[in-house]
Amino acid sequence: MTPATRLGPDLAALDTALAGLARLFDAAGYQAVSPPHLFAAELMLDLYGEDIRSRAFLFPGGGGDEVCLRPDFTVPVVLAHGEGGWARPARYAYQGPVFRRQAEGSRRPVEYIQAGVENLGAADPAAAEAEVLALILEGLRAIGASAPKVTTGDLGIVFGLLDALDMPAGRRARLRRHLWRPARFHALVSEAVAGGPPPTSRRTALIAAVAAPDPLARIERLAATEGEILGLREIEDIAERAAALAEAAAEPPMPAAQAELIEAVLAVTGPAAEALLRLRDLTASAGVDLGRQLDAFARRLDAMAARGLDAGAMAFDADFGRNLEYYDGFVFEVTAADPALPLAGGGRYDSMTARLGARPEVPAFGAMIRPEAVLAMRGAG
């Protein structure tokens, strides 16, 4: 739905909240940054694929190129940072409207204000996460959000688990690639254990061709019997995929215990301190070394406690964040009565910095508050 025009006492309350957040972020050492509302659509299409069109507003900008109304601040802020060189720590604060397409009938707004921060290049990632979470919670308190609910997760744990488990490289790559699509991921795990559907005769012939003396010629003959060889994709492309398919077909089944461990780790929920213990138990009894990720989890809890947060009691859900596109580590969301309209949220997105040009990727953690949701909650409460 489209937001109402802001005026009168509502506008004054919003301005007061935004000014308060700006002062708070400034005092914490976050430099104000104001990216443009519009940027090249090409960038978003490359990052998110065609589906971004159903979530953001893309339109002709004149001169043939499409432009995108910013759906968030992270991409433009991180790009602006990169232009000045990636290898330096930086703290940025921003505020302003973002624009999101919503499904017909959705109660989510198509335009709303975000006030947030990005913390880039921090030497101690756990400390940066605690710093930002504490800052966001302080900001929420400052603008009147009372007793909100914090949910946390950590996608670094399941990524770390996939790396630590003994499995064929192709299977690992497939599982990593589909981690953000839970249904597909679970189907891949079940298929790895039980075997997929029986191959078609086309697939059987293609896999046999890989082992032939001259696979490329053999695959080209197979292809030519099906139709004229046309288009931009090349026979070498198909030979490369055929080799990967042959490798996948030769993979041993995933041991049931491994699949159970993956599902058990993803199913861990509860207060963070208990979740950490449970994750240590699960991985230790399976003989899997997840020390680095779980130690990072523990350091984060310590860093949060040092900032006065009741970290051990915070809700943790290992599955949380898998629908949030680009996050690859610690994630959190703050909600009040209505879980569909969060008050704040954020997460770690190190790997996205590489997709935006950082070499190597840099530690990146960001979070934002939705002041209008807080004010609406205050009004309703």
């Binding site: 597909r184 012939a205 293609l206």
Partner: protein
């Protein structure tokens, strides 16, 4: 004064089949005046007015509530009306205008049989060619929804309003989403439908606009039309 407006396709086989469908049910529809006139006369139901419209415009007119009822393909309803379930109802599938909306790839792509294969081919295409694999179609909305459902993300839609099946050969795009009735055009162009690439089995539908004004006269005329057609239009 007409109480109930019915929008019908104004030309081609779809128009002929629609007029025949109503004739079989005792409603005679005649084009009024010269062939250029986009009005028609319906006999058999009091208060029913027929307007002839381009088939592609009927979904929009239903969505805006400017006609009470309309005949168009289910593919166009789903493509052109955002949140169509809350905008129109489909009281009758009419048994003609059958067409499948499908995902098709060059037949020689022997490694691509399913949408999951296409997803892998998209990732590989970007890695090897440096750009997103392109899908040619005029069904942008249905394509995006289906690809999302199947977990295919890294592709680009290229708008193609006609002769879509020639696109891969012309290197305008690599694969396509299009309507097919027999599959002959696709195979003649060396294309193959993916095993799980059926997006929609479409046919002509009698649609009812939920956005139109349903006053007492319109509702009464709808009741008379429903009785004649043997359909619950309410």
């Amino acid at each position: 004064m007409a109480a109930l407006t019915l929008g019908l396709p104004s030309k081609g086989r779809l128009m002929e089949a629609t007029i025949a469908w109503f004739a079989e049910r005792g409603i005679a529809i005649r084009r009024s005046g010269s062939g250029r006139e986009y009005a028609a006369i319906a006999e058999g139901v009091d208060g029913l007015e027929v307007v002839m419209l381009a088939a592609g415009e009927i979904p929009r007119e239903l969505d805006r509530g400017r006609i009470h009822l309309g005949v168009t393909g289910e593919d166009l309803i789903r493509e052109k009306i955002a949140g169509w379930e809350s905008r129109v109802r489909i009281p009758a599938r009419m048994g003609f205008g059958h067409a499948d909306l499908v995902v098709a790839v060059p037949a020689w792509w022997v490694d691509v049989e399913t949408m999951a294969d296409l997803d892998a081919a998209c990732a590989q295409f970007r890695a090897r060619h440096g750009t997103a694999l392109r899908i040619g179609t005029k069904y942008h909305v249905l394509t995006r929804a289906f690809f999302r459902l199947k977990g295919v993300a890294d592709y680009r839609i290229v708008d193609s309003q006609g002769a879509t099946e020639a696109g891969p050969k012309n290197q305008s795009f690599e694969a396509l989403v299009d309507i097919t009735s027999s599959g002959e055009t696709l195979s003649a162009n060396h294309l193959r439908v993916l095993a799980d690439g059926l997006i929609l089995q479409s046919e002509a539908c009698l649609c009812l606009s939920l956005a139109a004004e349903w006053g007492a006269d319109a509702t009464a005329a709808r009741g008379r039309l429903g009785a004649k057609l043997g359909l619950a239009l309410g």
